[in-house]
Each structure stands twice: as C-alpha cells, then as structure tokens.
C-alpha cells in the first residue's frame, strides 16, 4: 500500500470515521481484492477509493507523524479551505510490468501523489502533494518504489498543471519524493521532463509555488527550481543534485544532508529557496497567507483585499528616519513597514543577499511588490547576489501585474575582484534588464543615495519609472562627494573646500529634480498617501514592449 496518507479529505466524513469502517488488520487483504472479479463494479469502486484514502494505514501515518511530518492528505487539507478539495486521478495506477511490478499487490490507486484543485480563502488553486515512504517502514514488497516518481505519478501532476493553465489558476506543489522510480527507467525520466516542460510553459502564465516538505534530490530538484517560489520546512526538507555519499566519493568532501541542502543552506547561502518555516503546519498556514498576495494568473489583476488602514495616513516618523550623516545606516524595513498597510510585509529571501529587501505588501488593499536597498547591510550596495535576487522578484511582479515600489538608497555596485570575476557586470545587468522591461506600474522613492550606475538601475525615470519621488535627503549623483572631488580636483589643494562645493551642488535632490528625473521632492511623511493615490491612477496603465519571440535577458 504505497499511499501514505490519512483519509480526511473524504469531504463529509469526519476524521476517524473511515478508520473505523476499515479494520486495520484487513488493510492489505482489502487492497488485494481489487481485481477479485466476484465483486460488483460498485463494490470495487468503493474498495479502491477507500484504499486510496486510507493510504498506508494508521501505522504509516503514525510513522510519518513521528518524523514531525504530516501525511500528503493532511497537508492538502490544511492548505485548502475546509471541504474545498476536489481530487482527480484517484484511480490512476502505474503501468510498469518489469521486476514483478505488474502484480496487483504492487499497484495502488493514486500512485504516490495526491492531485486536485481546491480553494484558499475562496480563490482557486491546483495542488499536488507527493507521498514519501520511508524504507524502514515499508515491507520488502514495497521498498523498491516507495514515493518515487513513476510515469503515472508524473502524468497526474501534468494533468492538473494543464488544467491550471487552461483556467488560469496557480499551482502549489507539496514536494516530498524519493526521486525517479528506478524500475520504470526511462519512463520515469520522461515523466520528469513532462513536468519540467509544463513548469516552463506555465512560467509567467500562472504563479507556481513549490513547498519542499521532505527530501527532493536528483532531477526532481529542477521542478521547484523552475517554479516562481520555493519554500522549505526546516530540519525535514532537503534539496540537492546528489546526496552526501556521492559528494564524498566524487569530491571527497564530508558534508551532512543539512549542510549540503537543508533549509538553512538554501535560504542563506545558495539562494535556491525563498523562505523556510519551522514545521509543516507553520509552512502550510504561511502558504495560505502568501497565496492571498498573488493574482490567479497573468490575466488577472493584483488582488485587492479589504483594508482597514487609511490610504491617506501620514507617517511622521519617516521625516526623521534618515540620519544626517550620510555614512550612518538605518533599517529600510522600518520605512517599508510604516508605509505599507498594517505593517504587513511578506519578505522574500529575508536571509539571503540582505543588502536588498524584496517582498509583498499591500497599499490600500492592493498587492504591491516592494524592492528596497538595505543601508544596514553592506551600505545597501548592489552585488551579484542582490542583483539576481532583485531581478527575479521584479520579473515575477511584472509577469503577474503586481505594481513595483522601489526604495532607493544605493551607493553603487560593490567593487572588487571577487565581484568582477564572479561576473557582476552580467548579473548586475539582470536587475537593470528586469526594471527596464517591466510594464507594470513602477513607483520609485529615493530616500538618500542614488549614486552612479546603480541609480540608473534602481527603477529610475529613464527606465520608464511612472512616478519617481525624492525625499529631501536624496542625493542623486555620479558618486559620493569625496570620491568625486578626488577625481575632479586630482592633486589640487583645498580638497575640503572642493568637497564642500560638490556637496552643495550635488548632494541634494535638485540636480535630478531640475531635469525632471524625479517628478517631485516630497515630505517623507506623505509618502504612503502619495503612493496610494498614484497606484489608483496607474491601475489602468497600459504599456506594451515591442513584439519579440522572447527577450534575451543576460543569464
């Protein structure tokens, strides 16, 4: 019995009812009765449905719980609104006929993945939830393909992805899989490729979210990698191309699963995952919250939720938040949280490339994407990681009609051989590219420094920014006063005097304002009010890029 699940989604049945109906000792026997021909079709349907719902039986469910994990069906149930799940392909079984797989005892309705559609706060979503089996818990018969991806498994996932694209609704994948099903060989590989293709085709059409809730290794990792957001559960989920054993034999590195591909690694070092949560329950509840921010498809507008926060609320504390000394740091999150609705900011990648802050919030109820340089970390300069992090986020917003609000305090790109050898030119260009091609409403607020090329990059007027504001503390210039004076007045006396002159001339918003590169110099306390009004106007913005097969972002 491969389907390690509980049985709760049988909508009208209360928890526990089915367990009572199917005595546990008979489970295996029940399953083998599928093909017993003396049963009527009706009886056979009921048998199969029950088998699919009860999954591995209470013992397996307990084993899963013991690991601190929920079963595939429990996950779906918690993620979706009560009684909203509509399952598809419950009767699908694998078609492998090698290695004794063709025996009925090795066939299971549903084949190790639960798929279907449901609603989150009333809004449509497609879901698949993989069923991971642990070798220790599986009898010899089943060890061989517990939880692995078969052709049938892949086919089920592809089916709901196709439907999601047809009707325009997001796909959430709850990944917990042991990799390819070796017995099926190339069919399993083909299954992966089928999913990858759909991930790519759906990209930019409907939001795709992966929640990694167990191991995910080998080729399987590329499906999450192709989706828009990858979230992980701490301590129980791993993502890697090859596990520690292979790593040891190839590179002779000693590394644990957690160090190689745990949630901490991917949310702080590699940037593969966008957020990590404490456990399954927290992760799923947070998915519901996150889902509220997203439009259903690229044909739908950004959602507007009822807001209790006045759109014309003034924020007096912003008038004093930027320190007088240009070298002193402050926390960009303080600015973001006071401006957005109800201080509610869902940060994406909060622990990776912290010199840029990205995430979702609402302005007067409407979802917006926020991008901000973080002066607190590395002075908020742009480097390879922050450029890539920012670029991917901006492109998601642009693909799904989410207005982008950019807060700029950037001293430039990070210098050094590490950055140059790593290709900061190529990677920095991604952020520039992303802002330039975006046609959603773009509002920019320069809070302090906007120096050099980084000024251009950060959603400047020149990249079709719709509304560009400067705070009185803004300095739009090629570089800081000290550096500039050293170049302009090289070897001359009176550097200090020249510096003072430079500061007077350039370290303020006027050079940009007189040229119309910023639309207005605003009191910081009025920022929220102004942005809310602008967003109302820009809601009907229409802008189209030239026709192309697809653009060629510098990857």
């Amino acid at each position: 019995i491969p389907v390690l699940t509980s049985f709760r989604s049988l909508a009208p049945v209360k928890h526990g009812a089915v367990a009572a109906a199917v005595p546990q000792t008979n489970l295996r026997r029940d399953c083998r009765w599928y093909s017993v021909s003396h049963l009527s079709v009706k009886e056979r349907i009921d048998k199969k449905r029950t088998a699919a719902l009860v999954g591995g039986g209470q013992k397996r469910i307990d084993a899963q719980h013991k690991r601190g994990k929920l079963t595939a069906r429990e996950r779906v149930e918690l993620l979706l609104d009560p009684e909203s799940f509509v399952e598809s392909d419950m009767f699908v079984e694998h078609r492998c006929s090698d290695f004794g797989m063709e025996q009925d005892s090795n066939k299971f309705p549903g084949d190790s993945v639960v798929t279907g559609r449901g609603r989150i706060n009333g809004r449509l979503v497609y879901v698949f939830s993989q069923v991971q089996l642990h070798n220790s818990m599986v009898s010899p018969d089943f060890t061989v393909f517990g939880g692995s991806l078969s052709g049938a498994h892949a086919q089920k996932i592809c089916k709901i992805m196709d439907q999601a694209m047809t009707v325009g609704a997001p796909v959430i994948g709850l990944n917990d899989s042991g990799g390819a099903r070796i017995q099926e060989g190339v069919e399993s590989l083909a299954g992966y490729a089928d999913i990858f293709l759909r991930n790519v085709l759906a990209s930019g059409v409907v939001p795709q979210i992966s929640l990694i809730m167990g191991p995910c290794a080998g080729g399987a990792v590329y499906s999450p990698a192709l989706t828009d957001f990858t979230f992980m559960v701490k301590d129980t989920s791993y993502l890697f191309i090859t596990g520690p054993d292979v790593v040891k034999s190839v590179t002779n590195e000693d590394v644990t699963q957690e160090e190689l591909g745990g949630a901490k690694t991917h949310t702080t070092v590699s940037g593969v995952a966008h957020h990590a949560f404490e456990n399954d329950v927290e992760a799923l509840l947070n998915m519901r919250e996150f889902f509220n921010f997203l439009p259903l498809s690229n044909q739908d507008p950004a959602p507007i939720r009822e807001s209790h926060d006045p759109s014309d609320r003034l924020v007096p504390s912003l008038d004093t938040i930027v320190p007088f000394e240009t070298t002193k740091a402050y926390d960009m999150l303080d600015i973001i949280q006071t401006i957005v609705d109800e201080r509610d900011f869902f940060e994406i990648m909060p622990n990776y490339a912290k010199n840029i802050v990205v995430g979702f919030a609402r302005m007067n109820g409407r979802t917006v994407g926020i991008v901000g340089n973080q002066p607190k970390v590395a002075s908020g300069c742009l480097d390879i990681n922050s450029s890539v992090k920012g670029a991917r986020f901006v492109r998601f917003c642009d693909a799904f009609n989410i207005p982008i609000i950019t807060f700029v305090d950037v001293p430039g790109f990070l210098p050094g051989t590490a950055q140059e050898y790593g290709g900061i030119i190529r990677h920095g260009a991604k952020l520039l590219y992303a802002f330039a091609e975006a046609t959603v409403p773009k509002i920019t607020v320069i809070t302090r420094k906007a120096y050099g090329g980084a000024y251009d990059v950060m959603s400047s007027k020149h990249l079709r920014g719709d509304v560009n504001y400067a705070w009185p503390s803004a300095e739009v210039a090629v570089m800081g006063a000290k550096g500039a004076v050293q170049i302009i007045f090289r070897g001359k006396e009176n550097q200090a005097e020249a510096e003072a002159e430079y500061v007077e001339k350039f370290a303020n918003p006027f050079p940009a304002a007189v040229r119309g590169f910023v639309d207005d110099i605003i009191e910081p306390s009025t920022t929220r009010k102004k942005i809310c009004r602008d967003l109302e106007v820009l809601a009907s913005k229409k802008q189209v890029n030239p026709w192309k097969k697809h653009a060629n972002i510098p990857l």
Binding site: H65, N292, P316
Partner: protein, 662 residues
C-alpha cells in the same frame, strides 16, 4: 533661557511649554542623538555634541558655548546631568547667567551626602546612624560596616537616583559593593567617593517637596510616596501617601523646611526620608533640583513648580503661605521604562519606537516624554520613555484612570514595563497601601512572571483572541476587484477553534452574528463585540457588556496572536490545524549552560576571565554597562573558559555571545 534636556527620553516637556506661556524664549541644548520633540517645542535648539553624555550633556564647555551663542539669560538644568553640579553653577555665575535652582553653596552642602548629613543633624532633622566620612578602601568599608552592623548601604557621596548604590549583608558583599559603587559613581558623576550607613530594612521612601525663595521664606508642599522601587530606582510614585497622618506629615514638612532654611535654600528642592513601620522618619538626602516625580505634587497642590522656580530665580517672593498649600485629590505617577520587566523587574531594552501613541486623549492624564514615534531608545541614556501621571478626586479614581491610561498606551519596537506597572497598581497590597521599598521582591520573590489569569479573565482573553483570529480570517476572503466570482460563496458563522495559552490548550466553539462573537470556552460563554479595525494597534472591545481596551501587539499567519490585556501571548488554530500541530516536533533550544550571552545591549566594562581559566559557580565573568547601570554577569556552574568573544570597551547587543565555557 537655555534648557538642557535632562534625559533623552524623559525631558520635562511641560517645563519647556511653560516658558513659552510666561513668554520666556526657550532654547534647548541637545546631543546628536536627536530629541525631536524638544527641538519642536523650543524656539531654538543647539547641538552640544555626540550621544555619549560626557561629550554632550555633561560637557560644560559645550553648554557654556551654547549659552553664549544664544545669549541666554538663565539656565534651567532639568534633572540629572549638571542639575546638581556646583561647578556648573559657578561657571554660570561667572558669566552672569542665572541658574534656575538653588545657590551654589546649597548645592554643594546638600550634594555631598556626608556634609548634608552633618548639616541635617545640626538643623535637628532625624538622621540615620552611619559613618560620617569618606570611605577610602574596600577594607575600610568592611571595618566601618562591621562597626555600624549589617545590613549597611554603600552609596556614592555625589550620587542620586540609585546609581552607585549597593546594599550589603556581609563582608564579601561589602567588598564587591564598594568596587561597583565606586566605578558607577565615577562613570555617572565623575566623583568616586563613597559613604556607608545603616540600612533600614523594609522602609518606605517618602519625600517632602520644599519651595524656598531668596528672602528666607520656605514652604513644604506635602509628600510624595516613592516606595515602589526596583534596584533603588523609583517605579510608581503617588501623592499624598496613604501612610502619613497629619501629625507625621507636619513633622516631616517642618523638619524639611528647617533644613532648607539651614542652608539658605532657594528654589524647589526635595528632602527624602525613610519612614519605618512605626512612622519614625530619617533624613536620607536632599535633592537640590526638580525631581522626576514633581508632577504629582503639582497635581495635588495646583502649583506649577517650574514656574515657581523661574519666579524665585528672578528674585520674587513666594506668593503662597504654608496654609495655602492644599492636598486636593490624589495623583499617581508611573515611570514607563524601555526595559524588560520579566528580567529582574527591568533590564534595559533598546530599539526604535516603531509605533508610539500616548493616552493623552483621556481626561486627567498627563504624559511627560521627550520622544515620539520613530525615536530611537539608545544605550546612552536612562531607559525612561515617559512619566505617566493620572489624577483623581480620590485614590481609587486616580488608580482607575492609571489602569485605563496604561491599557491605552501604545508602545511598539522596544520592550517596556507596562505589564509590570499594571500589575503593581492593581495589586491588592498596593491598593490597600501596604507597601515598602521591598514591595517588588516581596510580592514577586521569583521575579515578575506576568499576570496570573483568573478563570473568567482567561476566558475573556481566549474569546477575544478567537474573535480577532476569525475577523482576520474572514477579512482574507474579502478580495475586491477579482474578475471571477467564487463558485460557492463561503458562508460560515460557526467555528471550532483551539487556543494555546501558555501550556494550556482550550477548545472553543464560536458563533458570529453581526459584529458580535459568542464564544463557548472552558464551560463558560463569552460575548465579544467591537469595531474590529485590523490596522489599529488599539482594540476596543466589549466583553460580556464591559468595555475593555486590548492591544494587538502582533499576529502572524501561523495563528500567533500577542494581545496586551493583562499582557499575554496566545496561539489560535483551527481545530484541524491544532490537531495536526500536535504532531509537530518540539525544537530543542540551545544549551545555554555553557555559553554566556549578553542579557541586554550595552558596553563591556570589564572581562574578568581569559580562555583556560576555571570559574566557580557565581563567579563574575564580565561586567556590562547599559544605560549607566553596571551589571555583573556570573557563571551558572563551575567550568573552564573556552573562548572569550568580547573585550572591554566593546558595544554588544542583546543576545550577543560573550564567553563560551567548556
């Protein structure tokens, strides 16, 4: 007039305002650690230096420059810093600038605790037995302590406000106390002289406000009861005291006036007494400045002390006679501190006030503060956020107002002591007036643990959290502007929830009609209604017909809700989520017995160990100074030091790793 800000976070805004009213042009000096409110209130502001006080508010040269630059004719020194500094008063006199306060000789006489005691004795004021001289070494301190008899109090000769003050019960503590007090005295007052006196166990701290002019007239303006203290710093004060009878009050008042006259005192001053359970009172010290808690005296007497000080400084005679001084009603002051009340009744906390709203919309509430939303609470100053004063015709009325005011006070971004303040003012012992300076350690022998909920209050809290949770869930379904209509509109008005509160799990059933939630929980039914504005930090609810002010401190997607109503953190989950949550593993917290982390943000003053040393249980490992308090961090067990991650002079944040043990 130049008005140096007394403390960053608790300057007397009222005083500044007053000067405007009597049409005195006000100027204030500020450090770079900006104090926006005062700058706004003052006509002119001058920056006297960077945030550390010895470079700004204690920097006389800078302040003198400010006085010259602004052409000020008078200086009100506020409290703390230079307010009792005779050098400063002298320098002002030399430049012909009026010091709004007593004459130099009075500051000198009363500022020195040894001399003040001698003068008090001579003026026939009751004094505490003790050693009338400066203690030079730790060994000498031990000898004197033995002569007087334990317990003894070691305190800075120049000090005040509990700084540089230690109680000692044995020789060992005397040695340690001597060292700490002299260090603290040196850093706070620039004067490390100490004195020792008999420590009166379980006393009340009651002080008399005096007001004297330059013509030999002096009045006593009744008492202030300041017994609720932690680490010898006042937390809650009231005027009048529940403990004094008219006879004792008059005796104390008259002695205070005698003392003031003995030193030809002019301006406002405070004579502090310790009062034992038999109403014997002993002179403690005289503060030759305006006290932090002066507003409560203003409330019950109707006198404006700062105005009086300015009049006296100008040379006018007092307008009032002793028989003109009334006790009208009752006033209470709570000192709202940025500190964690769950750690030794308050360890400093720093941060940015992300949200800040004073309850000044309530009647008969006065809030003196020097901060606003967005201000930083820094390690450089006293952690006081504000003084919250309420007034009423009776004590009960003033207390009820205080409860309201505390419930309506919005502070986010720093940990604050409002939960503790609320507990104190609602505690039966406090309400009955049965208090002493040992109130906090006696009532909370194991430290303050937050409010212990009675069953009905717990039900109210659970019901409120559940109602708030459902409100947010329902709001999530209100998506506007969608191009699609949900196939089956979700209509639900009955929920089964489970709320975790501390260790307890409470299942409940909730039904909703209109804005009213009916919650069945723990065998009781609670009705909760409200406006449910999810953006507002305040949550005014009607619970079973009674109006309550709750505050939602935070809520997250995982159902965690922190409500400030008797201050509690809860987690609301749907029945299903709660059931599944029971399978989630407990994460093992970090083993803290072998690491020492900084309990608060501050500066490392001393590190007493190096790697390889063996420390005994209770041995000092290092000393952290924060907000001018020195805190000794000790080993929790015997161990060998593995690594030291800090060095003296370094600034550390809360939770920073200091020392690793093996």
């Amino acid at each position: 007039m130049v008005y140096p800000l007394p403390r960053q976070h608790c300057a007397d805004g009222t005083a500044v305002l007053l000067c405007n009213i009597v049409s005195v042009e006000t100027k204030c000096v500020i450090s770079q650690c900006l104090c926006i409110v005062h700058v706004k209130m003052a006509d002119e502001a001058v920056c006297v230096g960077p945030a550390p006080t010895n470079k700004s508010y204690l920097n006389m040269d800078a302040i003198m420059d400010a006085i010259r630059a602004t052409g000020a004719q008078a200086v009100h020194p506020g409290y703390g810093f230079l307010s009792e500094n005779k050098e400063f008063a002298k320098r002002l006199a030399a430049e012909d600038v009026t010091f709004i306060g007593p004459d130099t000789h009075a500051i000198q006489a009363m500022g020195d605790k040894i001399e003040s005691k001698l003068i008090a004795k001579a003026a026939q004021v009751n004094t505490i037995p003790g050693f009338d001289g400066v203690v030079k070494t730790a060994e000498e301190a031990v000898k004197i302590a033995q002569d007087i008899g334990y317990p003894v109090m070691i305190k800075a000769s120049a000090g005040g406000g509990g700084k540089g003050m230690r109680i000692s019960w044995n020789d060992e503590e005397t040695r340690e106390g001597f060292r700490f007090s002299s260090q603290e005295a040196a850093s706070s007052f620039g004067d490390d002289r100490l004195l020792i006196e008999k420590y009166i166990d379980n006393p009340r701290h009651i002080e008399i406000q005096v007001l004297a002019d330059k013509h030999g007239n002096a009045l006593w303006l009744n008492e202030r009861e300041c017994s609720i203290q932690r680490r010898n710093q006042k937390v809650v004060e009231e005027a009048p005291s529940t403990f004094l009878d008219p006879t004792t009050r008059r005796a104390m008042g008259e002695q205070a006036v005698q003392l003031a006259k003995a030193v030809q005192y002019s301006s406002a001053g405070t004579v502090e007494f310790l009062v034992d359970s038999n109403r014997n009172f002993y002179f403690l010290e005289m503060n030759t400045r305006l006290q932090v808690e002066h507003p409560i005296t203003e409330c019950i007497t109707g006198l404006d002390l700062v105005e009086q000080m300015i009049r006296v400084a100008k040379g006018y005679q007092l307008k009032h006679k002793q028989e003109d001084i009334p006790i009208n009603g009752w006033a209470i002051e709570s000192r709202v501190y940025a500190e964690d009340p769950y750690k030794s009744f308050g360890l400093p906390s720093i941060g940015r006030l992300s949200q800040y709203q004073e309850p000044i919309n309530l009647s008969k509430v006065r809030v003196d503060s020097g901060i606003q939303e967005g201000s930083d609470i820094s390690i450089y100053y006293d952690p006081m956020i504000s003084k919250l004063v309420t007034y009423g015709a009776t004590r009960a009325e003033a207390l009820a107002r205080m409860e309201d005011a505390l419930d309506n006070y919005v502070i986010r971004g720093v940990t604050h002591n409002i939960p503790l303040l609320r507990e104190i003012i609602t505690h039966p012992r406090f309400i009955s007036g049965d208090i002493s300076t040992n109130f906090l350690p006696e009532v909370y022998p194991d430290g303050f643990k937050g409010h212990q909920l009675e069953a009905d209050k717990r039900r109210e809290l659970l019901a409120s959290a559940a109602a708030l949770y459902i409100t947010t869930q329902l709001r999530s379904q209100k998506v506007l502007g969608s191009l699609r209509v949900p196939s089956s509109p979700i209509e639900c008005n009955h929920w089964e929830l489970c709320v975790e509160l501390g260790e307890g799990h409470h299942s409940m059933e909730v039904t909703k009609s209109g804005n009213v939630y009916t919650v069945e929980v723990d065998g009781g039914k609670v009705e909760v209604s409200g406006q449910w504005n999810l953006a507002s930090p305040l949550l005014p609810l009607t619970i079973n017909g009674t109006d309550r002010m709750l505050q939602c401190l935070s809520r997250d997607a995982s159902g965690r809700i922190v409500l400030q109503y008797l201050g509690t953190s809860l987690r609301v989950l749907s029945k299903l989520a709660a059931e599944l949550n029971s399978y989630m593993p407990e994460k093992v917290p970090e083993d803290t017995s072998s690491i020492l982390r900084s309990p608060m943000p501050g500066t490392v003053v001393a590190v007493s160990v190096k790697p390889g040393d063996t420390v005994a249980e209770g041995q000092e490992i290092c000393v952290i100074e924060a907000m001018k308090m020195q805190n000794s961090l000790t080993a929790v067990r015997q161990a060998k030091v593995k690594n030291v991650h800090c060095k003296p002079g370094e600034t550390v944040g809360e939770g920073d790793l200091l020392v690793e043990l093996e």
